[in-house]
Amino acid sequence: MKRIYAIEELCLNCRLCEVYCKTAHSQSKDIIKANKFETPAPVSRVTVYGDNFLSAALNCRHCDDPRCVKACITGAMTKDKKTGIVYVNEEKCIGCMTCLAVCPYGCIKVGKPAVKCDLCRNEEEPACVKNCPNHALIYTDLGGEDK
């Protein structure tokens, strides 16, 4: 499946990926409204860690055998058989955050429902990748099996 990979050598720590992720997951889909005025404020699924010297944007790996899916106590977290996307069923999630406690990559954020990357499900290219000014995020299916 196509996944997002981060290249720390190219990341500028500009955090535009976070801005566009928030916008893509907002109600208004408007960059200004989403980032300044909307309540509840949309949360970015991607997070830039590091500093101006060295940084990278971290995103869900959509693992082949996802621990978060196995650990989910309500069946809300599933991996789509066709697309491979790991996503949260918002109706079923109770926000217990067991998924967060088992994700070895630190890619799930607290919320009810739990907040995580859905690869912008119906889009051809995720918003963070599309808007990264320095190509520090790559969307490709070159990666094979993933633990």
């Binding site: 720390e8 590091g50 621990r67 650990a71 309500t74 109770i94 070895p104 990559y105 630190g106 607290v110």
Partner: protein
């Protein structure tokens, strides 16, 4: 091949699904004594609170089982196993198996109290049926008393505090959530619960007897002599592994069904056990005990299923990891949180309403308690599981962990897999 699974919660369902993955034609039958298709048992407190509908509690759509050719028989309590004939008995009917998995879970432990047993308003809080009874009994005039301030008791108390007039919690230990909190953190959690839920605690207390009118309890008497008015009594002292069926069949049991720690096979080579009824070996200290937590149950069920179908999955290591919330207060725990002895050390980081306690053993992380500081907790969990030497890390693990605590190579593997981009 004929597979039978007894119990249809986390372990049982994981077992059935793994068998189906590895054996497309085998006949899989799952028996549950409950009258429901597999549902999320931990969600019962959310159902009690009214934030989750019954329909969202089911782990899979009902059409899923037909499509996967997994037969679920509800309302079927298994009475006995005949290991020689390789059959089980449900009611008058016998069913034969080639491989059997026991996922019988746990049963509530009720300490002896005078005049409690058989009273219609003394209930346990463990499954959907009992929760429905509690829901039907509790209203805004109800004065509820919960015995036990562990995870189940406190979840019951939280749920009841949203619907009842008052909630009193009676606990034998000197602190709330004794299994996951140390003294200091328990104190602040207790204060929070008192403020948020108006829960009244009676610590280092037990209920000695109940007063009743007809078959209803009207009040309970504590060890101190205090008389607490009570319209609804919740018995949540603790649970014990449900091993009766295994014991009767002569399978080795010692406070839980004994299994091979790698394959989940019991002392009978055709019978496996997984989940809260089975003994695990904690990879962090080698202790043998039941780790009654969801991720562990799924892991064991999956491995048992694979082995039953002739596959080769193996338990890589069991440890406890748990996340829970009370009125928005988030508690994440993992590993050896109650470790005592000179070889363990810990570090506590407090700021505002957050609390973080990391437990170390010879340069490795072996446990954590995170209160309102659970961000990226899974990175800690992975450090615990991989027994990573902390001296190899490049960042301070007392801060919120992120990929930059790992040296470049490992960090890149984590971000890019094996790709050369």
């Amino acid at each position: 091949m004929k597979y039978i699974i007894i119990g249809a919660s986390a372990a049982g369902l994981a077992c059935a699904e793994q068998i189906r993955k590895e054996d497309k034609d085998g006949e899989i039958t799952v028996f549950t004594k409950e009258n429901y298709l597999p549902y999320s048992r931990p969600s019962i407190s959310y159902y009690l609170k009214g934030v989750v509908k019954e329909s969202s509690m089911y782990l899979r759509k009902s059409s899923y089982y037909d499509a996967a050719c997994i037969k679920i028989i509800t309302g079927a309590e298994i009475k006995s196993i005949d290991r020689k004939a390789k059959t089980i008995k449900a009611g008058r009917k016998s069913y034969s198996y080639d491989k059997l998995c026991l996922c019988t879970g746990s049963k509530p432990f009720v300490p002896p109290m005078k005049n409690v047993s058989g009273k219609i308003n003394a209930l346990t809080f463990l499954d959907l049926e009992s929760t429905k009874q509690i829901k039907a009994t509790a209203d805004k005039n109800t004065r509820a008393v919960v015995i036990g301030a562990g995870l189940i008791g406190m979840k019951a108390a939280e749920g009841l505090s949203k619907v009842c007039r008052s909630v009193d919690v009676v606990e034998l230990a000197p602190r709330v959530l004794p299994s996951i909190l140390d003294e200091k953190s328990a104190k602040s959690v207790k204060k929070y619960l008192e403020e948020q839920g108006h829960i009244r605690f009676h610590l280092e207390q037990t209920v000695t007897e109940a007063k009743s009118k007809g078959n209803r309890i009207t009040s309970v008497i504590l060890k101190s002599g205090k008389d607490l008015p009570c319209d609804l009594l919740i018995l949540a002292v603790g649970v014990r592994p449900e091993t009766e069926l295994a014991e009767k069949a002569g399978i080795e049991v010692n406070r839980g069904i004994i299994t091979d720690p790698a394959t989940m096979q019991t002392s009978d080579k055709n019978i496996y056990a997984a989940g809260d009824c089975a003994v695990s070996v904690d990879m962090l200290d080698g202790s043998k005990r039941v780790i009654a937590l969801w991720p562990n149950a799924v892991n064991q069920g999956t491995v048992a299923g694979s082995r039953m179908a002739g596959g080769g999955l193996t338990i890589k290591g069991s440890y406890s990891v748990n996340a829970i919330d009370f009125y928005g207060l988030r508690i994440c725990t993992c590993g050896l949180i109650n470790a005592v002895g000179g070889k363990y050390s810990d570090k506590i980081i407090r700021s505002g309403d957050s609390y973080k306690r990391l437990i170390f053993e010879s340069g490795r992380l072996v446990g954590y308690v995170l209160i309102n500081s659970s961000d990226n907790a899974g990175i800690y969990t992975s450090l615990i599981e991989s027994k990573e030497e902390l001296s190899t890390l490049t960042g301070d693990i007392c801060e919120t962990p992120d990929p930059f605590i790992f040296p470049k190579d490992e960090r890149n593997t984590r971000m890019k897999g094996e790709l050369d981009l």
